[in-house]
Each structure stands twice: as structure tokens, then as C-alpha cells.
């Protein structure tokens, strides 16, 4: 089979660049990118300032590098918490029967239906002063688990119906062992996929909240940069690069993550059905 340049290869390359740019290059910043007036203001992109500078006198290139790192880290933190909750509830929901099953299904579906954003906006407007990355991740995670846990539940359900569960139960396997030896191999792929899934969603939510001005941290995220840009009327004043580069980075991040996720889906989910 001839090796073709497929979308997923492009996605992995882009994602690799993103990781390098955010986690490695950010360490080499010659100055603290968040501090104001380190460089001349409102400079368009040039060789000296590849992404231009902001109205606050910040070098956008180094600023974005740091902010991207923070955006990703925040999403990873959120995703970790969310995946744990999703796994827990999803496995329980898939395993129990009868009334308990109905109850679990109901709870999960409710959290899917309830619109998360307005409530998060409310919450964040209240706790605006006492934010920390952990708290942000926690609150976003609270709303992130519903859809992934539906998916976990359906996989566990189909696993449960398969022969080996009955055999194992009849031969005295406890629930924990059952999970560990029989389910976990299937669930591993599930974990990875749910993780990426929540990550993409979390990036979106965090960016949205930041643009609404609800996230006020010293450590900037890409959403926060856009917020400042909008606050300082960057677009009417033609300082387009201040909005353009964070937006571009976000697009690249989300799309590359999603293509990787799709590839995982093809491997694990469609592979499972064979």
C-alpha cells in the first residue's frame, strides 16, 4: 500500500508543531511576555516581531507561546477530571440493571440536556475573584462528563451482553476483577478518545468564558488575549494581528486534535465492531 499523505498525518504534524511552540519554545522567551511595555506598541508583524505587538506593549509571538501552553494545560487538567467522572459514572451506568439503570440513564441524559454555558457563565461571574486554574478546570469538568459517559455506558452495555461476562460472573469473578481483566482493554481506547473529546470541548468553553471576560488570571490563555484585544478595540483600530494569531492558533489546535480523535475513532470503535 502506497503511503499517502492523509489528513491525519497533517494533523499530527500540526499538533507536534503546536506542542513544540507552546511547551518548548515558550521557555526561551527573552522577557516576561505578559508584562506591559516591554516592546513598542501596536507594531504589525515583522521579522523582529513575527506576530506583531499588542497595544499593551507585549510581544505577541512570545505571549501566544505562553498562552497556548496555558490553554492546553488547562484543557488537559479539565479533561483528566472529566474523564475520571465520565468513566466512573459510565461504567456504573452500563453495568447495573433495572431501576438503577433507568436512574443512571436519566441522570446522564439530564446533564446532556441542561445547557452548560449559561450556568457556567453564572458560576464564573460569581467566583470571578477567587479563581485558580484548578478551580476553573474543576467547574468546567463538572459539565464535561455527560456526553463521554453516555458513550462509555453504551460500550460497557455491549460488553456486558457478551458471553464472557456471564462466564466470568458464574466462575466467581468479582466486579473489580471483571473490570480489570476483561473490560479494561476495550476501555483503554475509550479513555483516550473521551480524553481528547473533552479536551476539545474544554478548550472551547474556556476560550468562550475568557472572551466574556470571566477568567481573570495572571497567566494568560489564548482566549484571554482575544479578550484584551477586543477590550482595546483592536479590530476597529486595525490592530488585526492581535486577534488573528491567537485565533489561528486556536483553530489549528482544535482541528488537529479533532483529526487525531477521528483517527482514534476509526481504529478503536470501528475496530471493535469487527
Amino acid at each position: 500500500m502506497k503511503p499517502k499523505l492523509k489528513a491525519k498525518h497533517v494533523a499530527i504534524i500540526i499538533f507536534a508543531f503546536i506542542i513544540v511552540y507552546s511547551f518548548i519554545i515558550s521557555n526561551f522567551a527573552p522577557y516576561d511576555p505578559t508584562r506591559w511595555n516591554t516592546v513598542p506598541r501596536d507594531q504589525p508583524p515583522s521579522l523582529k516581531y513575527p506576530f506583531g505587538t499588542t497595544s499593551l506593549g507585549q510581544d505577541l509571538f512570545w505571549l501566544c507561546s505562553l498562552a497556548l501552553k496555558n490553554s492546553i494545560s488547562m484543557a488537559v487538567l479539565t479533561s483528566t477530571i472529566g474523564v475520571v467522572i465520565a468513566l466512573l459514572l459510565g461504567i456504573i451506568a452500563g453495568y447495573v440493571r433495572g431501576r438503577a439503570f433507568a436512574a443512571m440513564t436519566f441522570i446522564i441524559d439530564s446533564f446532556c440536556v441542561i445547557p452548560a454555558l449559561p450556568i457556567l457563565v453564572l458560576i464564573f461571574s460569581l467566583i470571578r475573584e477567587s479563581l485558580s486554574p484548578l478551580l476553573i478546570a474543576l467547574w468546567i469538568a463538572v459539565f464535561s462528563w455527560a456526553w463521554p459517559s453516555r458513550y462509555v455506558r453504551s460500550v460497557v452495555l455491549s460488553l456486558r451482553e457478551r458471553g464472557f461476562t456471564y462466564v466470568a460472573r458464574f466462575s466467581g469473578y468479582g466486579l473489580i476483577d471483571l473490570i480489570r481483566y476483561h473490560y479494561l482493554p476495550y476501555i483503554f481506547g475509550l479513555i483516550v478518545m473521551s480524553f481528547f473529546n473533552i479536551m476539545i470541548w474544554a478548550i472551547g468553553i474556556e476560550t468562550t468564558l475568557a472572551i466574556f471576560g470571566l477568567i481573570s488570571l495572571a497567566e494568560p490563555t489564548l482566549g484571554l488575549i482575544i479578550f484584551w484585544a477586543m477590550n482595546y478595540q483592536a479590530i476597529p483600530r486595525n490592530i488585526w494581528w492581535w486577534v488573528f494569531f491567537p485565533t489561528l492558533l486556536l483553530i489549528l489546535l482544535c482541528v488537529s486534535l479533532y483529526f487525531i480523535l477521528l483517527d482514534l475513532y476509526r481504529k478503536y470503535v470501528l475496530g471493535l465492531s469487527q
Partner: protein, 351 residues
């Protein structure tokens, strides 16, 4: 000859099945609303500080120029609103009562206008936007998805797949920004951003044109993302549906492509996608709010922006409550369509 059929298609049976179904969904909807409101209530009580003084502090911080008397009014209202002197379960019940009687109290930013009045005025804009964009993108996405999944190998299908995959993961804010930058700056044809007064509704062409000129870009933003979403989910569903025996049998019978795509794949994709729609209403609604915010489209999203700017907590609470109830009710309405389409509900599940 013994009957293998057990068909009970009398009208009475059908009616009973349908009513049972609707009743069950109604109860579920009520419970969902309760859970949502409880969540909301918990959310309002999470701040460690006294929300009343905090609010007042924030309001005075924003727009100094309130006389001492007005401040006192506000303080009294806020205290009353939260009943902070009462035990927590009473507060909860009061909160629920408020929602059920559709009374959310006065808006803090537009004092003394009542929150429910403000929301009622603007909600029609949101409803208009959502219904048109939702119908268009759901229908188009499903149609394209079915076609693309049946004609899996065609280049057009693959192109759509890649395009949708690139659009779907984008956050609403980002797409809104991109579209705004394209159509306001690059090709300046979009006007209407900038929260000027709300156009007075009237049945005239002027009004309709005004609405369209205001709404087309946020609508486009939503349609693009939603078509991508529905295309992708339908496509994946269609791929697995294609392998069903009845598709094979339709093909060997020589049925036309059109019949197979629409009558077989299309129809069978519809049911799960209605369920998916109901479950996704919350997400889609949130997306609409965010998009309205970005374009200052005079719906709930815009109100949300104002509420945030002016620390109007009541308005925010009202918007959240409306959202929860609205989404649940919309879901219920869609639920009632189900029995019309799924014969298994009308005639009972057999075997």
C-alpha cells in the same frame, strides 16, 4: 389457522400507546427541569461571600451615581430576593416557587423593570434565530450525510467529510470572530453590530430587511457549525446503517437509488437523529447564545452580555432559568413527534 400476527391496530390501542409515551416524556422533562434548577440554585450559593453585599458593592463600583435611597431599595430587594436570613431549604423552595410562577424579580441593571419582562421582549429574537438556523442545518446536514454515506467512495463525499471535520471542532466564538473579521473588515458587507436600540417589530418589509441584515451573519455562523455537526453524525450513522440487511434487500430488488437513499436510509436515520437533536438542544442553545453575544444580536445572548457588564445577577439567573426550561420544553415538543414517525411506539413493541 392460528394467528401469528397479534396485530392490534385499533385506534384505541394506538391512542393509549401514544398517550403513555407522551406522559412518560412529560414526567422526565419535569424531572430534568428540577435537576437543572437545583444545579442552578447550588451554583448561586457557591460564593463564600455574602452575595447581597457583594452585588451591591459591584453595582456601586460600576455606576456610582445612585442615591442613598436607591441603594437602600436595592439592598432590601436583594436581601429579600435571596432570603438570606432563612434556612437553606426554604431558600431553595422560594427559588423554585419563583421560577414556577415566572417571577424572577427586578433586574438590577434596569431597575425596576422585571427580569421576566426584559427577557420576554428579547427571547423572540433568539427563538427566531434558533428555529430558522436549526431547521435549515439539521435538514441539510442529514440529507448531505445520508447521501455522502451511501455514496461513500465519491470524491464529493470525501471532500464534505474533510470539510465538516475541520469545521466541527471550532468553538462558536472562534468561528464568529473569523466570520466577523471576514465580513466586516475584509469584505465589509456586514453591518448591524453595535448594540443600538432594538428595532420595533412590525409587519413591514423594512422590518424584515432590518432583521435579515442584522441576523444573516450570526445565522451563517451557526448554520456552518451545525451543518458540519449534523453531517458528521449522520454520515457515521449512515455508514453503519448501510450494512443492514434491508438495504441489501432493497438493492437486490432493483429499487431506485432515490428510494433507497430517502425511503430506506433517510427514514431510518431520522429517528435516531431526532433523539440526538433533543439531546443536543442544550449545546446548540448555548452555541446560539454565544454567537448572539459575539454579534450583539438582540436576543438572550445580548442580554447576557449586558448582564455581565452591569453585574445584573438577577438577569443572569433569569436567563439561566429560561434556558433550562426552554430547552427542556423544546425537547418535549420534539418528543411528541416521535410517535408519528416510529410505528413501534404506535403499535407497541412486539417480541
Amino acid at each position: 389457522m392460528p394467528s401469528h400476527l397479534g396485530i392490534r391496530s385499533s385506534v384505541k390501542i394506538v391512542a393509549r400507546n401514544v398517550l403513555t409515551w407522551i406522559l412518560r416524556r412529560l414526567i422526565v422533562t419535569i424531572l430534568v427541569v428540577l435537576i437543572g434548577l437545583t444545579l442552578l440554585f447550588v451554583a448561586t450559593r457557591i460564593s463564600p461571600r455574602d452575595p447581597a453585599s457583594e452585588l451591591i458593592g459591584r453595582i456601586t463600583g460600576y455606576g456610582g451615581g445612585l442615591s442613598g435611597e436607591e441603594l437602600e431599595n436595592m439592598r432590601r430587594v436583594v436581601l429579600q430576593l435571596y432570603g438570606l436570613d432563612k434556612p437553606i431549604h426554604e431558600q431553595y423552595l422560594d427559588f423554585l416557587k419563583g421560577v414556577l410562577t415566572w417571577n424572577f424579580g427586578p433586574s438590577l441593571a434596569f431597575f425596576p423593570s422585571q427580569v421576566q419582562d426584559i427577557i420576554s421582549r428579547n427571547i423572540w429574537w433568539t427563538i427566531l434565530l434558533m428555529i430558522t438556523t436549526l431547521v435549515i442545518s439539521w435538514a441539510a446536514g442529514i440529507l448531505l450525510g445520508v447521501l455522502a454515506s451511501y455514496f461513500e467512495r465519491s470524491r464529493l463525499s470525501k471532500a464534505f467529510l474533510v470539510l465538516s471535520s475541520a469545521l466541527y471542532p471550532l468553538p462558536y466564538v472562534i468561528l464568529a470572530l473569523v466570520l466577523f473579521m471576514i465580513f466586516s473588515i475584509l469584505i465589509p458587507i456586514y453591518k448591524g453590530v453595535g448594540g443600538t436600540g432594538f428595532v420595533q417589530p412590525s409587519l413591514s418589509w423594512d422590518f424584515v430587511l432590518a432583521v435579515i441584515s442584522r441576523a444573516w451573519l450570526p445565522a451563517l455562523s451557526l448554520i456552518v457549525l451545525w451543518i458540519a455537526m449534523w453531517f458528521l453524525t449522520t454520515y457515521l450513522l449512515g455508514l453503519s446503517l448501510k450494512r443492514e440487511d434491508y438495504i441489501f434487500y432493497a438493492e437486490v430488488r432493483g429499487l431506485s437509488r432515490g428510494n433507497i437513499v430517502l425511503g430506506y436510509m433517510g427514514k431510518n436515520v431520522l429517528l435516531p437523529q431526532i433523539t440526538a437533536l433533543i439531546l443536543n438542544l442544550g449545546n446548540m442553545f448555548s452555541g446560539a447564545l454565544v454567537t448572539e453575544y459575539m454579534f450583539s444580536y438582540p436576543g438572550l445572548g445580548y442580554l447576557m452580555m449586558l448582564a455581565l457588564q452591569r453585574a445584573d445577577f438577577n438577569l443572569l439567573l433569569g436567563i439561566c432559568s429560561y434556558s433550562i426550561v426552554g430547552v427542556a420544553v423544546a425537547g418535549l415538543i420534539l418528543d411528541t413527534i416521535y410517535p408519528l414517525i416510529d410505528p413501534r411506539i404506535r403499535y407497541g413493541f412486539k417480541e
